[in-house]
């Protein structure tokens, strides 16, 4: 069956390529969740893409660009693969984009290898994905990229002992390994490593254990949404902040849910590649256009990943049209000013080399809203997990 599909795919692509080269419309298939518990990511991707299109028009170079959105529902590699297949064969797309979850991104590797389709990952943050195909490009980040600098920063701030509490699944374990390796390399000590079940929302036992161990800091990685909310609450309510155990995280204070966390979030420290409060003209222009088109939208990592992904696709189309291998070659040397700051493509890992910001949650005096205030920059970090 798979073989037959591959053969069909190869045949279609062989006949489609010469035609596509002369075609003036380049199609981009976006695979993302638009329904179910993760629907907000698909919505944010689409909003960011449309914001970019509104700012830059529908043409790149001499080509028209058209986006086709497909709903993958959630973490579902089979569905991701069949949607990509449908996009490649029936819609004859020239680029693929989207992909929130690592398994969904990995599932399309054999397809894009065969069809030589540049595939821009808007989020999925496991380092190893880009090893599976030369055609993967990533405009988000990797867990190593933000966790390791955070560990080094913590040590430099005088923290010598830390506990890690991560959710027991791929990204959590990646984050745990990255933090531990970097913290211990500097001379720090990880006194306890707790892996918490994915379904947990009552974190009291884990946090109480950390409190009893009394390290200088607790590093955490959680999936977004409800767990973040209860974890940060419990962290405060069980008196870890008062006991001087510093909270260190990555995406836990992301902008969409930040107001919901309330005052409990103030003072939480995270290291991340984007803050909605990033002080630059590019960020202001991006957010102004985004909220003009979608008044309720809140810019966060998902929107900026998709926005930069769209920029990358526009640049690749301008440089190479529908010629996949040439587009990837061209992308390898690209650099631009993103709403998150200066970025450039790492030619080996095909993930962005970018600033990592140390951020602290504070209440903005002007708007009265909680923001991730940038308090430090670790300049130009590549994908530190590439060689691991």
């Amino acid at each position: 069956m798979t073989r037959a599909i591959h053969a069909a795919l190869a045949a279609v692509i062989a006949t489609a390529l010469p035609a596509a080269a002369g075609a003036d419309t380049i199609k981009v298939g976006v695979v993302a969740p638009f329904s179910g518990p993760f629907a907000i990511y698909g919505k944010q991707y689409q909003e960011a893409v449309e914001t970019y299109v509104a700012q830059h028009g529908t043409t790149a170079g001499e080509h028209e660009i058209e986006f086709i959105y497909k709903d993958v529902g959630g973490p579902n590699p089979d569905q991701s693969r069949s949607l990509a297949q449908e996009l490649l064969i029936r819609d004859q797309v020239d680029y693929l984009a989207g992909f929130t979850f690592t398994p969904n991104a990995l599932a399309v590797a054999p397809l894009i290898e065969q069809s030589q389709t540049p595939t821009v990952i808007f989020n999925a943050a496991t380092s190893s994905i880009n090893k599976e195909s030369e055609f993967y490009l990533r405009t988000s980040y990797t867990l190593w990229q933000v966790s390791a600098p955070l560990a080094e920063w913590a040590y430099d701030q005088g923290m010598r002992t830390a506990a890690t509490t991560v959710t027991d699944y791929g990204p959590g374990i990646d984050a745990e390994n990255a933090f531990k390796a970097a913290f211990e390399a500097r001379g720090g000590e990880v006194v306890d490593s707790i892996r918490m079940p994915l379904s947990t929302t009552d974190f009291t036992p884990f946090i109480q254990s950390v409190r009893d161990a009394a390290p200088d800091a607790v590093f955490t990685f959680l999936p977004g949404g409800p767990p973040t909310f209860t974890y940060t609450k419990t962290y405060n309510e069980n008196g870890l902040a008062e006991a001087g155990i510093k909270f260190l995280g990555t995406a836990e204070t992301e902008e969409v849910n930040l107001q919901g966390l309330g005052d409990a979030a103030i003072g939480l420290t995270t290291a991340y590649h984007y803050s909605g409060a990033h002080d630059s003209d590019e960020n202001r222009a991006f957010q102004a256009k985004l909220t003009e088109l979608f008044p309720d939208a809140i810019a966060n990592w998902a929107s900026v990943g998709a926005y930069d992904g769209t920029h990358l696709i526009y640049q690749m189309v301008a440089a190479a049209g529908s010629d996949g291998p040439a587009a990837v070659e061209a992308a390898k040397t690209m650099e631009w000013e993103s709403p998150r700051g200066p970025v450039k493509m790492d030619p080996d890992a095909r993930t962005l080399i970018q600033n990592v910001y140390i951020r602290e949650v504070a209440r903005d005096e002007d708007t009265g809203k909680l923001v991730n205030r940038e308090t430090g920059v670790i300049a130009t970090v590549g994908d530190l997990g590439w060689d691991k």
Binding site: S199, T200, T201, T204, F206, G225, P226
Partner: protein
């Protein structure tokens, strides 16, 4: 010793939240015998209303909580009149399909209305504080949940065992025809019982929101948890649900302290073992 006390305190607090969110289900599903998978949907509606009243309209916590329960009950009554009334006569599978359909409808409505991000209910200062237990601190809202749970179990027991309504409800559930023949208005009894279940769901949803935060996907996220408590407790037994919730809360909390990596497996293994030993739950209601 401290570890033991920690497990005890956190286990009871967590167990009481489990009880609060699932007690409404033991009324509709256990007592009324309707497989009500939309139970979490009513908790979601309660939480969403509370978020709307408190965060969007700026009401204080207590009025927001009361209005949220009232709004949920007000929605549940016409729903019972129009839809659930037909569902009572369905087979189990049909009830499952119909109520899960309602759940999706509720999720989609909340998603459309409030979006799919977290719907927090701001707590008053008094509930945000922590109390010092000597060996550790405990947030005040957990104490409130414990008190709320005790009040609910006592109130329900009085209502079902000591009032005319309780006697009529039990009669109507056991033999609707006979009860009707004795002049009991079973339609109204069922409507009141259903509204009670929905109101309890809303109450539990809002009070439990500190541990099981409200978002549009809430009913499906925690559905298994609600069902486990009712199944382990025994259908229709309020006391059984109470024992099951506290017991499961203690067990899962102990597993999280002692073997965090295996907490979920331990929890489900214990549930399976319990149900294998007592397939009808801890307390079987005799009719």
């Amino acid at each position: 010793m401290t570890l033991f006390l920690n497990i005890l305190v956190d286990g009871v607090a967590y167990g009481m939240i489990l009880f609060m969110i699932s007690v409404g289900l033991s009324v509709t599903m256990g007592l009324m015998r309707v497989v009500n998978l939309a139970h979490g949907g009513f908790a979601l509606l309660g939480g969403t209303f509370a978020h709307w009243f408190a965060a969007d309209l700026g009401l204080p916590f207590w009025p927001a909580l009361a209005l949220a329960i009232a709004a949920t009950v007000a929605l549940s009554v016409p729903l019972e009149r129009v839809i659930y009334r037909r569902i009572y006569g369905f087979t189990d599978l049909q009830q499952v399909l119909a109520t899960i359909g309602l759940t999706f409808l509720m999720i989609a409505s909340v998603n459309l209305w409030q979006g799919s991000s977290l719907l927090s209910v701001p707590l008053p200062e008094g509930l945000k504080a922590s109390v010092d237990l000597g060996f550790r601190t405990l947030p005040v809202h957990r104490l409130l949940v414990i008190a709320g749970g005790l009040a609910v179990v006592l109130g329900l027991w009085l209502l079902l065992e000591r009032t005319r309504f309780g006697i009529r409800l039990r009669a109507a559930v056991d033999n609707r025809g006979a009860a009707s023949a004795h002049g009991i208005d079973t339609d109204r009894i069922f409507m009141a019982a259903f509204a009670l279940g929905a109101g309890l769901a809303a109450f539990g949803g809002v009070l439990g929101a500190e541990i099981l935060p409200i978002d549009a996907y809430y009913p499906l996220r925690y559905m298994v948890l609600f069902l486990i408590v009712v199944a382990v407790g025994g259908m229709g037994s309020i006391a059984g649900s109470f024992l099951a919730a506290i017991g499961l809360g203690l067990l899962e909390t102990a597993a999280r302290y002692l073997a965090p990596d295996f907490a979920t497996i331990t929890f489900f293994a214990l549930v399976i073992a319990l149900l294998a030993l007592r397939p009808n739950g801890l307390i079987v209601r005799t009719s």
